[in-house]
């Protein structure tokens, strides 16, 4: 029995090593997106999104992606941290790092570890420690909320600003495009005997 648990835990640890923790994922990223995206580097065994119970829903997601081999997991991590990696066309690089056991909600109990739960008397010296810890957790929660609020604000601001830039640039593009669309530019080029390369190879994905 004990050895079975032992084995289970070893297997779990193995899995942890094979797993990549992805952060900063767009809320729209689905399992298949992740799967396909990482399939370039190795076989994806499973994708598990870590549910977010606390924060607003529109926060970035995170996921645990289990690769087939440990090496592949490493490759994914190094690649994604070396190059900004976009997923689902979202203009925000995804972060990757090695998963750790605590990230798994369903992790098996560590063999040999025992958790004892009991009520503490107010007089107990541990009581103070416990209440402090409790306090701390609460504090963290508030802090996180505040931080998130600020983060959202900032990003909104940024989004607005960038939206304007994009709009402006798109306007430019449209203007030029209108010239292209009705062929005026090309006609003129022909009149000038100007050789205009078709796309200069730019417009295509090549």
């Amino acid at each position: 029995m004990e050895s079975g648990k032992q084995n289970e835990y070893v297997a779990f640890e193995e899995k942890v090593r094979r797993t990549v923790y992805l952060d900063n994922l767009s809320p729209n990223v689905t399992e298949s997106v992740v799967r396909t995206a990482l399939d370039q580097y190795g076989t994806v065994k499973s994708v598990e999104f870590i549910p977010n119970y606390l924060e607003p829903r529109n926060m970035p997601q995170c996921a645990l992606v289990e690769m087939e081999k440990e090496k592949q997991a490493k490759v994914v991590i190094s690649t994604l941290s070396e190059f900004p990696f976009m997923m689902s066309g979202m203009p925000r690089p995804v972060r990757a790092r090695a998963a750790v056991a605590e990230m798994f909600g369903d992790r098996p109990r560590k063999p040999g570890r025992q958790i004892r739960i009991c009520w503490l008397d107010t007089a107990d010296p541990d009581f103070e420690v416990a209440s402090k810890l409790k306090q701390l957790v609460k504090k963290h929660a508030t802090e996180t909320t505040v931080m998130l609020k600020h983060q959202l604000e900032k990003e909104e601001k940024l989004a607005k600003q960038q939206g304007e830039t994009l709009k402006a640039n798109y306007k430019k593009y449209e203007m030029i495009d209108s010239l292209m669309a009705d062929g005026a530019a090309r006609r003129l080029a022909r009149c000038y005997n100007l050789r205009v390369s078709d796309d200069s190879g730019l417009s295509t994905f090549h």
């Binding site: 900063n24 767009s26 809320p27 729209n28 689905t30 396909t36 995206a37 990482l38 370039q40 580097y41 829903r57 529109n58 994914v76 190059f83 900004p84 990696f85 976009m86 997923m87 689902s88 066309g89 979202m90 203009p91 925000r92 103070e128 402090k132 306090q135 701390l136 504090k139 963290h140 802090e143 996180t144 505040v146 931080m147 983060q151 959202l152 990003e155 940024l158 989004a159 607005k160 960038q162 830039t165 994009l166 640039n169 798109y170 430019k172 203007m175 030029i176 495009d177 010239l179 530019a185 003129l188 009149c191 000038y192 100007l194 796309d199 200069s200 190879g201 730019l202 295509t204 090549h206």
Partner: protein
């Protein structure tokens, strides 16, 4: 400062400029090799005892000197800059002015050191960061690379010496400490350098110890302390901290960053050429900011700018921070639509919507506004009536070009390409001259005796001369006319009088003079670089940004550094007033950041403030702090955030934010240097809305002018060709920049694209013939790494053993012989010699194939014997490359293979979770290049295998590209037309989709089938099975097809079905097979014949169909090969055929369906199959005349191919040329019939010998072959742009002759039979022809209209369409809605907000997507 110049000696010569030093060997040496003198005594002897000579121009340029010098010294007592002098034996101290340009690098580090000392001596309290900033400023124009500690390292001795001798320096010890500290820090981050620097520091320390400076002891100690601490921090694995720990280094040694900017500058050079590259105020260059509005002027944004200061420019008066924050600049004029008339200078409304008073000149780059009456007066000098009339027209909105665009002397336009005809434009009024027409009074130099002052400057404007015409009085101080020429609306408060601003403006004029004098290209490029406002501004920004960061990091460092002793901490913190607060907070012997945070926490809790908030952003670091704080934090009630802690949190956030800088992110992925990170700045700052408005207007006007019958020159006065070019360039730039939004979801990951496996298989199919045992096959950008595996499999099949090497910068899933590496870093010795190397495949393309070229160049270093490349057409061809060790020759190229959906985007999925394909509009050709010493061999292989395509004359290409595209879609259209159902159009599109799916299926099938069949060539035993398979296959096909037919859209579906099957590989295969069948035993002559056959058969159609271009769409090819199948049907009754053909159903096709029912060889692969099988039959059963049999067999084998031609008339009818051609075909048919008997006789033996259905198939085919072949060639002939049809005919004749001669006499009886068949043929012909004629014409017309109707639809397949559909600004909302199911009011920062990218991603990923590809 102890040293000063010796007064008496200065009387002689006191300064030398344009100087340089050399030693006896005439090598440039630095003067720091001379002994250094302080206060008259020699303190520091230079390294060598060489004789060193100073050369240069003494004093006022009159005297060139060459003096032996023995010592040098520097003088820090001057205010502006340090003086450096050298001691000459005979004339004493010579002050060094400006070094010779080429000499600058030699003395760089010593100059920097001296300047550094100078700055320190004058500003003892200067912080390290600002010191470097100032140095960077001083040397900005001198050196491309920013000054850094590295420059000081070489001159430690000098610095030490100076410190020893100089009180003021001694006072600023701490600065030096900091400097050295920085040195050390940087060193420690760089590892190797560390030891050296430690040594130096130690030496430094020893030196200074004699001076008794406690500070340095401390420094050293702190240095020693520093290391372990940093390690500890690193262990904490807090990225933020490690960044902040190194931030100074990052900020200071930013040469890479600079470089990247410079690169961009190069790319964008042409951007600015067309527009004013000088400030509208002061007419000087520098870092300018361009107005986004219609005036298109550039301004100095801030007075602080060097060039602005230099010309005493009043500038827009922004602070540098404002400049940074500025998204786009809209000048007051453009903002309020109040522009000045360039003629009279008065402001007027330019708002066309509400009664404009001034109008802009329509020239695309002009940007000047005029009152109608002002400009018309100028345009019609002396003719009042005309002027008034014109003024009216202008007022009513007519376009005009202002007088600036005609030389005021000769009234001719400008030609920038001819120097004489370049313009000199007055900056103050609409007056311009040709260079040649420039009056003498407008001179480039002062001519004092005539009282002429400089009015013209070269090199400030690109390809133009900047002048002030004689109407304007030059202000002596300014060197320009008085700068009151710009009026902004509502701007009364600010008196725009430049002379007030002037402080030390003597330099202005002289500066310009030197510019004009030295108008060398070098100078000009320097100016240009400086003018790249955008990038400079950006650079400024980033440096500013990092400046912000520095104080904090400094403080951190301080804390760390001074941990061991408190005393110096206080001392230091004095020099850092800004940091005082923080440092004092840290004043609890807390050394690390964590400790500091802990201290913060402590303080809080002690002060009974509610527990402080910790920042989770910092991860482990703050966690540690938090954990610490738990011990001390007092418990309280439910924590709600008070203002204080919130502020603290915010501060922490700010810190965290500032610790990650843009350049961190930019410099981090140092992969391929061609990434255009600056695209944003270019787009935002250079491509302004106003410019584009102008461009668009100008293009339209120019076109209108041309259409009105004006001369080209007139049009060019409005819109120069360069401008037009610009617009294309800009469009591309914008497209690249906006790509993420234009292409939406298609954009993913690294934007790579891989070649699809089936395409790779085709390539391998072709390539493996050239591979020899023992070769190494290198895929330099292997992507998914499929190629080498497929190759390996193939080669193993054919019994060759090769090694493989695959490189990519991204890990491939399949790690077969894979190495994750940048191809550029692969060394020559790592791979075998070139004669065993086969390299290539699909490199990243890059913008304008830049990356592809780079990859190829790198590959050429290895001198591979073969290069197989999938590269864009604009890639530099290898035979055009000069200075190669081995020249390369093209073995073949295939423009067709990779058309359509040949690539996929790895990691990206579409809405249906399917791997995304990529549709390429312009298929990248596939090239096989051979090293010239191998090319003979390779070419012979190519010919043998039928890989050499018929290349049409290049002159045809241009025209054909269009046709290809059209034909892609016309073919189906035609079919629709034949189905005579207009409603079909819809179905058509739907079917198309279905077909695509099917296509994929069938693609899977084809390759599988391929190999057995090929083997069957050699192994007759397998014949049975393979043909069985084929039969099944065909039956399947058949069923499907008839089904479709019922649906009424058969032709269409066929077409699509055909695509995969008939794609090049098939055509190729078929030709190859036939070659195979006959190959080994044939004589060379026969080979020749065959080859031409193949050309005629397999290849020509393809190119023909596309009227001379091999970019045939697969569909067409397919169509043709399909129809060939038809030809194979032996059981068809002539009546049936006839009926069918006269039927409006596509004649070519109908029989085919017959084929399916009657004959197993019906599937697309049948082309191959039938030919092959007949070969097989012949091979096994032929008697002694094997050769003959082969020949004939081969012929029948080829027949299907030639049948292809029968398809052609149909398909070509869909070509634009179709109608013409088909008529030609009709005409040419009759003569061809004459030839038929011949051919048939040649065919007969087959029938006789076997008499089975198959042979008769051959016969039938043969008949068709003739019938179609000839018209075809005649047809091409008549078109006249095919050089070879004649030849073909000749060959054809020749061949038939050969056959005739080769015939056994006993075959004659069969001829009758044939004749009978021919009689069948007889009636067929007219109907056939008629069919062509009749259907083609209408269908052609139909195509045209349908084409138009289809246009948008067709585009849907093309990415361009995406462009149209994707990105309308309102659509951004849509996009969100589309991607983001959440309610719109909840703005999701993480959601795919298009705008976000603008921050940085277009940089990183646009380039990738364009550049990265792999196969």
């Amino acid at each position: 400062m102890a040293f000063s110049d010796d007064e008496e000696e200065e009387a002689l010569i006191h300064s030398v400029s344009n100087y340089y030093f050399n030693d006896e060997k005439d090598e440039a040496v630095c003067f720091s090799q001379l002994p250094l003198q302080f206060g008259g005594k020699e303190c520091l002897s230079g390294g060598s005892k060489k004789k060193i000579f100073l050369r240069g121009i003494a004093d006022d340029g009159l005297l060139t000197i060459c003096k032996h010098v023995t010592a040098w010294k520097f003088d820090l007592s001057n205010v502006g800059k340090p003086g450096i002098s050298v001691l000459s034996k005979d004339i004493g101290w010579l002050k060094l002015q400006k070094p010779r340009k080429s000499f600058e690098p030699v003395i760089r580090s010593v100059l920097i050191s001296v300047h550094c000392l100078h700055l320190i001596s004058w500003n003892p309290d200067l912080s390290g960061k600002s010191l470097w900033d100032q140095l960077a400023k001083i040397f900005r124009y001198l050196y491309e690379v920013k000054p850094s500690q590295n420059d000081l390292v070489d001159h430690m001795d000098l610095i030490a010496e100076a410190v020893k001798n100089d009180d003021s320096l001694a006072k600023s010890k701490h600065v030096l400490v900091r400097n050295e500290f920085l040195v050390v820090k940087q060193g420690s981050s760089k590892g190797l350098q560390q030891f050296m620097i430690m040594f130096l520091s130690f030496w430094f320390f020893v030196q200074l110890k004699s001076v008794g400076c406690l500070c340095f002891e401390q420094f050293l100690r702190s240095f020693l302390e520093e290391k372990p601490k940093k390690r500890k921090l690193a262990n904490e694995n807090a990225r933020a901290t490690s960044i902040s720990g190194f931030i100074v280094d990052d900020a200071v040694d930013g040469p890479e960053l600079d470089d990247s900017n410079n690169d961009d500058d190069d790319n964008d050079d042409d951007e600015d050429d067309l527009y004013d590259s000088v400030c509208a105020f002061c007419d000087n260059g520098g870092s300018l900011i361009c107005c986004d509005g219609r005036c298109m002027r550039s301004f100095h944004a801030t007075e602080d700018d060097d060039s602005a200061r230099e010309s005493a420019c009043e500038s827009l008066g922004f602070t540098p921070n404002q400049v940074k924050a500025l998204e786009t600049l809209l000048c007051k004029n453009c903002e309020y639509n109040q522009h000045q008339c360039f003629a009279c200078g008065k402001l007027g409304s330019s708002d066309k919507s509400s009664g404009a008073e001034v109008f802009r000149c329509s020239n695309a780059t002009c940007g000047h506004f005029y009152h109608p009456h002002c400009v018309s007066k100028l345009l019609h000098k002396g003719d009042k009536v005309a002027a008034e009339e014109h003024a009216k027209r202008i007022s009513s909105g007519e376009f005009f070009t202002c007088p600036t665009h005609k030389c005021c002397v000769c009234q001719q336009g400008e030609n920038k390409k001819v120097e004489e005809l370049q313009f000199a434009l007055c900056r103050r009024c609409p007056t311009s001259y040709h260079r040649k027409c420039l009056p003498r009074e407008i001179a480039f130099d002062d001519i004092e005796e005539e009282g002429i002052i400089t009015r013209a400057w070269d090199g400030l404007l690109v390809n133009r001369v900047l002048i002030y015409c004689l109407k304007h009085e030059i202000d002596e101080d300014l060197g320009t006319p008085i700068r009151d020429h710009i009026k902004f609306p509502f701007d009364e408060s600010k008196k725009r009088k430049a002379s007030d601003v002037l402080t030390s403006h003597e330099r202005v004029g002289s500066k310009k003079k030197t510019l004009a004098l030295e108008g060398t290209s070098q100078e000009r490029t320097a100016m240009k670089a400086a003018k790249q406002s955008s990038s400079v501004v950006i650079a400024d920004q980033t440096s500013k940004k990092s400046e912000k960061v520095t104080p904090r990091t400094n403080s951190l460092k301080k804390v760390k550094a001074t941990g061991p002793s408190k005393k110096p901490l206080r001392q230091n913190s004095k020099s850092l007033p800004m940091d005082a607060g923080k440092s004092s907070a840290a004043d609890g012997n807390k050394a690390s950041l964590g400790g500091r945070l802990f201290a913060l926490m402590n303080q809080e809790s002690e002060q009974q403030i509610k527990p402080g908030r910790q920042d989770n952003l910092k991860g482990g670091l703050s966690k540690a702090a938090v954990v610490d704080s738990t011990a001390t934090s007092k418990s309280s009630d439910m924590p709600s955030l008070d203002a204080d802690s919130e502020r603290r949190l915010l501060n922490l956030m700010k810190e965290a934010e500032s610790s990650v800088t843009l350049e961190d992110i930019i410099t981090k992925p140092k992969v391929l240097s061609t990434h255009g990170y600056s695209s944003r700045s270019v787009i935002d700052r250079t491509i302004t809305l106003g410019k584009i408005e102008g461009l668009v207007e100008a293009v339209r006007m120019a076109l209108a002018k041309l259409e009105d019958g004006c001369s080209i020159e007139d049009a060019q006065a409005v819109c120069e060709p360069e401008v037009l070019n610009q617009i294309f360039k800009w469009q591309n730039k914008l497209r690249v920049y906006l790509a993420p939004f234009l292409y939406g979801m298609r954009y993913s990951s690294f934007g790579r694209h891989f070649t699809k496996v089936d395409k790779l298989e085709e390539i391998v199919d072709r390539l493996h013939w050239y591979v020899q045992d023992g070769d190494t096959i290198v895929d330099f950008c292997c992507g998914a790494n499929d190629f080498s595996l497929i190759m390996k499999r193939k080669l193993e099949e054919t019994g060759k053993k090769c090694s493989f090497k695959n490189y990519d910068i991204f890990q491939a899933k399949n790690d077969f012989n894979f190495e994750r590496r940048d191809w550029m870093s692969v060394q020559q010795k790592e791979l075998p010699t070139g004669s065993q190397l086969i390299m290539g495949l699909n490199p990243p393309f890059g913008v304008k194939a830049a990356l592809a070229n780079k990859f190829i160049d790198k590959a050429l270093e290895f001198n591979p014997k073969l290069l197989i490349l999938i590269v864009p057409p604009e890639t530099e061809r290898l035979d055009k490359k000069k200075s190669l060790k081995y020249p390369y020759e093209l073995v073949w190229e295939d423009n067709n293979l990779l058309s359509g959906k040949s690539f996929y985007l790895p990691g990206s999925i579409d809405a249906n979770d399917k791997q995304m394909d990529q549709w390429n509009v312009m298929a990248p050709p596939l090239y096989l290049w051979s090293r010239s010493d191998f090319s003979a061999k390779n070419k012979s292989i190519a010919e043998k295998r039928g890989h050499v395509p018929r290349e049409p004359a290049s002159s045809n290409q241009e025209m054909n590209i269009d046709e290809t595209r059209i034909s892609d879609f016309e073919l189906p259209l035609e079919d629709d037309g034949l189905c005579d159902d207009a409603a079909e159009l819809k179905d058509h599109m739907q079917n198309h989709e279905i077909e695509e799916c099917k296509k994929e299926k069938s693609v899977e099938v084809t390759p599988k089938e391929c190999s057995p069949r090929q083997q069957s060539d050699e192994k007759n035993q397998s014949k049975e099975t393979s043909s069985n398979k084929k039969r099944k296959h065909s039956e399947e096909n058949n069923g499907r097809k008839t089904d479709k037919k019922i649906g009424g859209w058969t032709p269409r579906s066929e077409t699509h079905d055909g695509i995969p099957h008939s794609s090049p590989s098939n055509v190729m295969d078929s030709s190859r097979c036939s070659v195979k069948g006959a190959s080994s035993k044939l004589h060379s002559e026969e080979n020749l014949v065959r080859k031409t056959d193949i050309k005629g058969g397999g290849r020509t159609p393809r190119s023909e169909m596309h009227s001379g271009i091999p970019h045939s769409s697969p569909s067409t090819v397919m169509g043709s090969s399909r129809s060939s199948v038809k030809g194979a049907s032996p059981k068809l009754h002539s009546e049936e055929k006839l009926g069918r053909k006269t039927d409006k159903m596509s004649g070519g096709r109908t029989p085919r369906s017959e084929t399916h029912s009657g004959i197993p060889y019906s599937s697309p692969s049948n082309v191959m199959g039938s030919s092959r099988s007949s070969v097989e039959c012949a091979a096994s059963k032929l008697h002694s005349e094997e050769n003959l049999g082969r020949k004939t067999n081969k012929k029948s084998g080829r027949t299907p191919r030639s049948e292809t031609y029968s398809g052609i008339p149909h398909s070509s009818s869909s070509n634009v040329m179709g109608s013409i051609r088909s008529s030609v075909e009709c005409a040419s048919r009759s003569p061809n019939q004459l030839r038929i008997p011949n051919m048939h006789s040649s065919r007969t033996p087959l029938r006789t010998s076997y008499g089975d259905t198959r042979t008769s198939v051959g016969d039938d085919m043969g008949r068709r072959y003739h019938m179609n072949y000839d018209p075809y060639s005649a047809d091409t002939h008549s078109h006249g742009y095919r050089p070879y049809p004649d030849e073909m005919n000749r060959e054809f004749n020749l061949r038939s002759q050969v056959h005739l001669y080769g015939q056994e006499p006993g075959l004659f009886p069969r001829r009758n039979d044939l004749a009978g068949l021919n009689s069948l043929y007889g009636p067929t012909t007219p109907s056939y022809g008629q069919h062509n004629g009749a259907t083609v014409n209408p269908s052609y017309r139909m195509n045209m209209s349908a084409m138009q109707r289809y246009a948008p639809r067709l585009d849907e397949l093309n990415y361009t369409r995406m462009g149209g559909a994707g990105p309308e600004p309102p659509l951004m909302g849509n996009r969100n809605a589309f991607y983001d199911p959440r309610p719109p009011f909840m703005i999701d920062p993480r959601a795919p907000r298009p705008p976000y990218t603008l921050g940085f991603s277009p940089g990183p990923y646009h380039p990738y997507s364009h550049h990265n590809s792999a196969g």
